[in-house]
Symmetry: C2
Subunit: 252 residues, 2 copies
DNA sequence: ATTAAAACCTGTTTTTTAGCAGGTTTATTT
DNA sequence: AAATAAACCTGCTAAAAAACAGGTTTTAAT
């Protein structure tokens, strides 16, 4: 069992050893840090890390706040968004265990350009900008993995640009369902993440009403089932067929 | 003057020294390779590189073709796009000297998910997947710089997702003009890149007709001037004001 | 210089999508 | 268990944008 801190990220720089915060004993093998742990030990850098526990709905990155580091998701589910014209949010991606939150939490940028909110009980590992830079500079394999992570996210994001630009609302909603299924999977027949119709809309780039209408239609057509907020996909392939003309190279 | 090859990228693996293809004497100081040259020399890896000269309109990356490496732009201008539903292209970004083309030209991906076409006489430097992986693994600073490049592009792409989703067509066209101006600058009062109305539309995520209509309106309102294909921006700030409500944190 | 082909333009129609209004159901709090 | 809030739903209306049609101008090729 590892020590966990309930306070928000502090700017004070306490000296601690990596063992104190549990990277060594951590079971999250999707984590880039964890996967590169052997080389990290060799480099003999003391990783200064804080753990942060978030309740459902808690915002841990605020758009426009000063950047001082970035987060790795140890456990839980998160939405990453940008706030647009009054009140309207655009969810740009979701993240789960092992993923990185806080783009450009290093480099020369001064402010976060995104916000992040926990969708359920979530535990985050926080690394300060400076520490992370040291680790990256000293560990080519780690920097390489980080690069791949961003390159893949870029690919997905550019794919999304095309989707929003060229798909109809119905297709975008279907695309969203497939993305959510791929990212979070299903449990007992229902997508394993609690999202409101509004949140589906904020990812698909449309309105709550449209999502409701389209879910109703998809339900009537036996593509999906729904029970309150919970949505279940009956046949993945059937949904994929509906948008296949847009995905020549299966990039989703 | 460095040797240039006019043929398309060959899959044969000739052994050459980096000097042969001119990285040492190259004047392109925006290039990530060039900026990391000192450490590259120390690592004593022979960079196997091909130069490729493209005429205006020539396509050098084809969507769906097998990935075997990636390109650095030595000189010229390029558009990067994805082909959507029949005939319609979505331009996802433009690139100029020093930038990288061919996402995931390494990693585990097998096929290009984007296409790329030269917008004018362009010279590219091509690096094979394997060579690049070797260089990156051995040079943390280089891998770090590559990571920053992708992280920044990701940021821009996610910003674009929000734009396309929340802005009106007029705002998107204005946003496109500002992006083109920032990327390619102006020459004698006109944006320094030859783009058709259709290409502006393909980046803005709309139709040629809409771009024409909006350019006409902007001209009438004295925001821009136009002379054939050439477009000039009269007052950058004036255009920025039109979309300022969407850019709380100046991310464009 | 002539022809052909792009590219550009504008008015009209049709389609799609957002916004609004006024409900019901489901979930949460006291 | 009742009250309150949040989420969900549906029909209608309005707005935005795409598609179409039929031009003109500009650019490139012979």
């Amino acid at each position: 069992m590892q020590t966990t801190y309930y306070n928000t990220v502090s700017t004070t720089t306490r000296k601690r050893f990596s063992q104190d915060v549990g990277c060594i004993s951590c079971e999250n093998h999707n984590c880039l840090i964890k996967r590169n742990l052997s080389s990290l030990e060799n480099s003999e850098i003391n990783i200064e890390k804080s753990n942060l526990r978030c309740k459902k709905g808690q915002q841990f990155i605020i758009e426009g706040a000063p950047v001082n580091g970035l987060f790795f998701v140890l456990k839980g589910k998160v939405k990453v968004f940008r706030t647009g014209i009054i009140g309207r949010e655009q969810i740009v991606r979701f993240a789960t265990a092992g993923e990185i939150i806080g783009h450009r939490g290093f480099g020369t940028e001064e402010y976060y350009s995104i916000g992040a909110i926990a969708l359920e009980e979530t535990v985050l590992c926080y690394f300060s900008k400076n520490d992370l830079q040291d680790i990256l500079q000293a560990n080519p394999k780690f920097a390489y993995d980080m690069m791949l992570f961003y390159a893949n996210e870029l690919n997905r994001s550019e794919s999304k640009v095309k989707s929003i630009s060229q798909m109809t609302v119905r297709e975008r909603v279907i695309d969203t369902l497939l993305y959510i299924n791929k990212k979070f999977g299903s449990n007992k027949g229902f997508l394993d993440v609690p999202l409101s119709r509004r949140e589906y809309a904020e990812y698909a780039g449309t309105t709550e009403e449209q999502v409701i209408r389209i879910f109703s239609a998809l339900k009537k057509e036996n593509f999906i089932i729904s029970k309150g907020k919970k949505i279940g996909i009956n046949d993945i392939q059937l949904l994929k067929n509906e948008i296949s003309e847009h995905n020549f190279y299966l990039d989703s």
